[in-house]
């Protein structure tokens, strides 16, 4: 598994095997940062009005919910798992929130904790199944994906528009800074989540166990680390982040709809990978994920500014970036030789 095992099987040859592990983990992150700066520079040169602080802030406003979801996905990917249910969980949260607030007339303050609880609990349940029955994460979260999306439709097949004054007011609140710059409340929440995730991952025992688990699960078990609890917890975190992302998306869209957040699980995973987290686990940074989200947002902004480009270019470019980063990860010393 590791560079340190003395297996009898042939070791895969790696072109960059001499690169130190520390460099190896940081190169993709560096590439992403350079990419972001380059995109911003190119954009500023090519398009009028691109070079403004508000364009940068709009990136956050338009992608705050994705940032929260991607942060949750980062926890899972760091352990070497994958969570395909996040997009559907986001949709379920929007539908649940809109339905409770609009159709049932519940106060938003009561709905928010409930939605968060549902997200965390369903994540924990999936984690429990994955851990207890040793079923591949992608299968279990696939079921979660079906279930959450299906539940959306059982609540409402139509889009539920939110007219509740508190919610609307919250959604429209602009927090102004110097120079007329503004952000929305979801941006603040998303940044808070990012900071919190950073602290948890890098400065708590739980966070370090997450990395240990991704580095080598059987080692982690033999070192006496709480493997099961941690595994369940990361899926709970991912579920919680999806639910919170869903709440933010509700504010952004002011509606709940079963078709919201289609394919967001892919965006979240893409952001994580582009941000330099290894899909095999154990290596990566949550701040990298934030950069990844910004890159995705920047691609979208480009497409918007270049009027002639169509929206589907976003997906193609994301796919191309994903390809580049996955091949890069592999060449820089991906640790698991493929089956066969």
């Amino acid at each position: 598994m590791s560079t340190g095992t003395a297996g009898t099987a042939a070791r895969p040859t790696r072109p960059f095997a001499t690169v130190s592990p520390r460099t190896r983990t940081r190169v993709p992150l560096l590439v992403t940062a350079v990419l972001l700066v380059a995109m911003f520079t190119v954009g500023s040169v090519r398009y009028e009005g691109f070079l403004s602080a508000q364009v940068g802030l709009n990136l956050l406003i338009d992608n705050g919910f994705l940032l929260v979801v991607a942060v949750g996905a980062t926890f899972v990917v760091l352990t070497g798992g994958i969570d395909l249910s996040v997009g559907s969980m986001v949709a379920l949260s929007t539908v649940l929130t809109a339905w409770l607030v609009e159709s049932q007339g519940r106060p938003l303050a009561a709905v928010v904790p409930l939605v968060l609880l549902v997200g965390a609990a369903s994540g924990a349940l999936m984690g429990w199944i994955i851990h207890t029955f040793e079923i591949q994460p992608f299968v279990v979260t696939l079921a979660g994906m079906f279930l959450a999306r299906g539940l959306c439709y059982t609540i409402s097949t139509e889009s539920v528009t939110i007219t509740d004054p508190t919610t609307v007011a919250l959604a429209q609140t602009r927090l102004y800074g110097p120079g007329g710059l503004f952000v929305s409340i979801p941006v603040v929440v998303a940044l808070a989540v990012l900071v919190l995730a950073f602290v948890v991952l890098h400065h708590t025992r739980f966070g370090r166990t997450v990395y240990a688990l991704g580095g080598n699960e059987s080692s982690a078990r033999l070192m006496g680390l709480p493997v099961g609890t941690t595994k369940i917890a990361v899926y709970a975190v991912s579920g919680l982040c999806s639910a919170l992302g869903g709440l933010l998306l509700t504010l952004y869209m002011l509606s709940g709809y079963a078709l919201h957040a289609m394919g967001m699980e892919l965006d979240a995973i893409a952001a994580t990978v582009i941000g330099g987290t290894l899909l095999t686990g154990g290596s990566g940074f949550v701040l990298g994920t934030a950069l990844g989200v910004l890159v995705l947002g920047m691609i979208q902004t480009f497409v918007n500014f270049q009027g002639t480009l169509s929206s589907w270019w976003t997906r193609i470019v994301i796919g191309a970036l994903l390809l580049v980063f996955i091949v890069l990860q592999r060449l820089m010393g991906g640790r698991r030789p493929a089956a066969g």
Binding site: S2, T3, G4, T5, A6, T8, A9, A10, S20, P21, R22, T25, V199, H202, H203, T204, R205, G207, R208, T209, Y211, A212, G214, G215, N216, S218, S219, A220, R221, L222, M223, G224, L225, G282, S283
Partner: protein, 521 residues
């Protein structure tokens, strides 16, 4: 159920303190196979204690029981005289037993400091105090006389350093009992010396160290007492100064040496005749770093060459190079005088070489396929998918070999994973025999199978050689190597130290001496 032959060690140093860890009558079964049968072990503070035994002796199982990886089915574990039962490694750690495994069981992606302290990080206000973490780890390493960059990822250090870090972690968890499971198998001489210095220092501080190794020198160099296991039973416990390498090897390999003299003389008589002329395969200076030092070997058609040596001596590694199962770093191989490169098994198969791995389950059979499918697999792979063997042909081949080798149940459509070990081995043999190989490499073909099947396989090997097949026979059991082989290559510590012609002058004692001392007397 303690083995009746257990000699109680006389206590040279007067009354000893109570054992810090004691195991009595440990039983352990896996899926109907008895792995440990009434095994006992005593560990005293301030000693380095070697645990020795061949393949299947039960060493790793015993270690896993002691460290809480597997619970025992029966018997008692006493820590400081109090009975204990461990459900998981964490409980064993809490009771003061830490383990360092052969394959470094740390996380290469975390820093050295984190690897030492993960799970026990110093905290401030509930958060990990990173500077305290670094300081604490650096202090610990300094105490052990190690100077490392504790912030670097563990994976950036050499294997030896990783091993030392693993020990540092184990010591910090508890310095009471330290279990070292083959920690030196991939270290070079200097690194071993560094490790031993550390172990001695820990012993002098009062730790009990249980040391598992295949290297005899290391046992005599480092250890105070030895416990020998054989076939899941306790063979005995000895102070090291009562043993010579020779007697230790005898106790590990066992077997009544007297009976070995009554071998069939056939192999010996024919030995001289077989080894003349152009060899089928000629290996020169063949080597793979970390696995086997450069060795020379000739195998003639119709000759059985035995590879003898202890577990971990490099016998399997040497054999794998001849099949391309692992690729060689240096040296050359000639087949019938023509120089060849055996980089993958396909190259070797194309040259008429066949290989039965010692690891039947992981590298031999495809468990969920049927006996028939497993039997035709090698032939089919050689033909490629476009030239299938017809079902009738497959059935015929399967029936033929099931009958020839007496595979049971005699059902070609039975899933191979449901067969017993001996029958699985026969299926594996059948797979290669139907390709009519020129050289058959058998790695531990009789391990873990019952006596009847064992005898049949031995007979088969003799018959094949009689028919002109070259055979390379790897086995831990000296008597079968001696009975079958025309020549015997002896390996020790990853080196081929001697090649003996089995002409009547070779006695089991001579092989044991060669294994024990590294030289043919």
């Amino acid at each position: 159920m303690v083995s009746p032959s257990t000699p109680r060690p006389p206590d040279p140093g007067g009354p000893r303190p109570r054992p810090v860890l004691e195991a009595r009558g440990i039983h352990k079964q896996f899926a109907g196979t008895v792995a440990l049968d009434g095994v006992a072990l005593r560990l005293f503070p301030g000693e380095v204690h070697a645990l020795m035994g061949e393949n299947g002796a039960g060493k790793s199982t015993l270690i896993k029981v002691l460290t809480g990886v597997h619970p025992a089915d029966g018997g008692t574990l006493l820590v400081d005289g109090r009975p204990q039962a461990f459900a998981d490694p964490l409980q064993a750690q809490r009771a003061g037993i830490s383990t360092v495994y052969q394959e470094v069981n740390l996380c290469p992606n975390l820093s050295v400091a984190e690897n030492i302290l993960v799970g026990r990080e110093p905290r401030r206000f509930g958060l990990v105090d990173r500077s305290a973490l670094r300081r604490r780890a650096a202090e610990l390493l300094r105490e052990l006389d190690l100077d490392l960059d504790v912030t670097a990822p563990l994976g950036s250090h050499s294997l030896a350093v990783q091993q030392l870090v693993a020990i540092a972690r184990a010591v910090d968890v508890s310095a009471k009992v330290l279990v070292l499971d083959e920690p030196t198998s991939s270290l070079d001489r200097e690194e071993v010396a560094q490790l031993f210095t550390l172990v001695r220092r820990l012993r002098d501080r009062g730790a009990a160290v249980l040391f598992v190794t295949h290297f005899l020198d290391q046992v005599f160099d480092l250890c105070d007492r030895v416990t020998v296991l054989r076939n899941g039973r306790l063979e005995g416990e000895y102070p090291i100064d009562r043993l010579t390498p020779m007697t230790l090897v005898q106790r590990m390999i066992g077997g009544e040496l007297a009976t070995l003299d009554q071998l069939s003389g056939r192999a010996r008589r024919e030995a001289a005749a077989r080894t003349t002329g152009e060899p089928f395969l000629r290996a020169r200076r063949l080597t793979r770093a970390g696995a086997i030092e450069p060795y020379d070997l000739d195998i003639h058609a119709g000759e059985v060459v035995g590879l003898a040596g202890l577990l971990g001596s490099g016998r399997t590694e040497a054999a794998r190079l001849l099949f391309g199962a692992d690729s060689a770093d240096g040296g050359e191989v000639g087949i019938e005088g023509e120089k060849v490169r055996l980089r993958t098994p396909r190259h070797a198969i194309a040259r008429g070489i066949a290989f039965c791995s010692e690891n039947r389950k992981a590298e031999g059979l495809v468990g969920e396929l049927t006996v028939r499918e497993n039997i035709v697999l090698a032939l089919q792979a050689a033909r490629g998918w476009t030239r299938p063997l017809t079902r009738a042909k497959q059935d015929e081949l399967a029936r033929h070999w099931i009958e020839t080798l007496d595979i049971r149940p005699a059902d070609p459509e039975a899933q191979v994973r449901h067969l017993s070990g001996g029958n699985q081995q026969k299926v594996l043999l059948a797979r290669w025999l139907l390709t009519a190989p020129r050289l058959l490499i058998l790695d531990e073909p009789t391990r873990g199978i019952d006596i009847g099947a064992k005898a049949e396989i031995q007979k088969l090997v003799a018959r094949l050689a009689g028919e002109g097949t070259a055979v390379l026979f790897v086995s831990a059991e000296l008597d079968e190597v001696l009975r079958l082989s025309h020549r015997i290559a002896v390996l020790r510590d990853h080196r081929m130290v001697a090649t003996l012609t089995n002409d009547g002058s070779v006695t089991p004692e001579r092989i044991l001496t060669t294994i024990a001392t590294g030289a043919d007397s």
